[in-house]
Amino acid sequence: MSWQKVGVPILAMAIFLVLWELLVWANGWPNYKMASPSDLWPAFWKFKHLFVSMGWDTLWRTVVGLLLAVVVGVGLGMVMGFSRVMRDALYPLLVGFNAIPKATVVPIVALMFVGAHDFNTVLIAFMISFFPIAVSVSIGLSTLEPEYRDILRSLGASRVTIFWKIALPKTLPEFFGALKVAVTLAFIGTNLMEIVSPHGRGLGALFDSGKTNSDYPLMFAVLIALAFLGIVLYYVVVALEKVFAGWAERSPT
């Protein structure tokens, strides 16, 4: 990790905040139109305990939803990747399911499982994020060059061995590509549930209470907190990718 890798993003962030502050100041916008960075810090400080506990709620439900999406997505992807028939059967269903705007699903889920807030939130995070994982794994597996299979199969290796030794590792770069999309989606899903069907938990609920109390700096502070969590989650995935699929990265020459 070089100075450049850490320094440049931080510098970019600082420049962004300064420009934002200047924009608000130059236009003389009031708080309810656009809060400025200097208003945010007091808002954070005032509600710091809430930010920590609500942030944690949002975080763990997103992560659980995402893990569920990984398990189900990889499972579906394997089924579709290895069987042509299953691919033909499941693809239209999945595409249709994915096309339904999740905002419309939220009230339905909230009605179906009344009171099970954690479960509902995790469910939405899962539903919104498993699709890219399933698709990428199925494509990765079904486009495996036959020679790769044949070098092991000609030695009498079982399908399971071929999957573990070749198909799975070879699909990892695609999988992590999809996971980067999925982690952002899961995060959106969690907040969708928290905002559309508020139940007093998570950053989405904090946003909602800011709205009710016309506390505009709080609302903006929540947005920043969300962005921060989103960045953290994304880079956790990037770090995992480095560990498990770092070999796919070509040195820039």
Binding site: E145, E147, Y148, D150, I151, L152, R153, S154, L155, G156, A157, T161, K165, I166, P169, K170, L172, A245, W247, A248, R250
Partner: protein, 266 residues
């Protein structure tokens, strides 16, 4: 009296395609004695790769039989080693670990230490000493193909099947690898089938060249190569070689249906 190690008798095979069955092999015979090395040449798309898949037990022929070492081939066997035009090395493994891959599948009596020693010895033999810990992406095409050859031999297969392994290499690298093949064969005796498009390659490497007809393919012509054992590249420029190449080229033209009528009628 030693029986042939590889024996293919009257093999017929058709692929089921959307446009109906596509006959690919029709009455193919081939036999290779123990320690022999046969080259198979034929027009593009005539069924050479199909033949390798049958010998490797990856597919069953519709008709006819494939025998290896006196046993009827019914499925994949650990006594076969394969290499293709595409070296298919696993990018996430070092070269050494790539070469050792078959030993993870095939039952072996070697200890981990011995397995590694064997892989290192093979790599040294093909001139890849010092590259054991590199990733495949750090090697040139010719070097990758060398590693792929090591992998196909590491479990000491009785039968080596090579499907155009040098087809994608430039002429100089290819000639280097031909000599590497002779070195390998001297150190690690194997019985092999080499599919190739290159007639010079076929007479330089093999003891016997088999010409397949166009699709559906049968054995059209078999030539004994009189040179035995390791050869020098100069051997390719002798009058005998020129004559052998001429005959083979003519046979390929017949297989392609391009030979002048009066000649083909002979």
């Amino acid at each position: 009296m030693s029986e042939p190690l590889i024996e293919i008798k009257g093999v017929k095979h058709a692929y089921q395609t959307q446009a109906g069955p596509l006959p690919v092999l029709d009455g193919l015979d081939l036999s290779v004695p123990e320690g022999g090395f046969a080259a198979v040449v034929g027009p593009s798309g005539c069924g050479k790769s199909t033949l390798t898949r049958l010998v490797a037990g990856l597919m069953k022929p519709d008709q006819g039989e494939v025998w290896l070492h006196g046993q009827l081939v019914k499925g994949p066997k650990a006594t076969v080693g394969m290499a293709f035009q595409n070296p298919v090395l696993l990018e996430w493994r070092s070269i050494l670990k790539n070469v050792m891959l078959p030993l993870e599948i095939v039952p072996t009596k070697l200890s981990k230490r011995q397995q590694e020693d064997r892989a290192r010895k093979l790599l040294a033999l093909v001139g890849l000493e010092g590259f054991e810990d590199k990733r495949p992406s750090e090697l040139s095409g010719g070097m990758r193909q060398r590693a792929s050859l090591c992998r196909s031999l590491v479990h000491q297969p009785e039968v080596l099947i090579l499907d155009e392994p040098f087809g994608a290499l430039d002429a100089f690298t290819r000639e280097d690898l031909w000599q590497t093949m002779h070195r390998l064969k001297a150190e690690e005796p194997f019985t092999g089938v080499l599919i190739t498009h290159d007639l010079r390659e076929s007479i330089f490497l093999a003891d016997e060249v088999v010409v397949l007809s166009g699709r559906p393919a049968h054995t059209q012509y078999v030539m004994d190569v009189h040179l035995k054992g390791p050869r020098d590249l100069e051997h390719l420029y002798t009058p005998e070689s020129a004559e052998a190449l001429n005959i083979l080229r003519h046979q390929i033209q017949i297989a392609q249906g391009r030979a002048p009528v009066e000649e083909a009628a002979q």
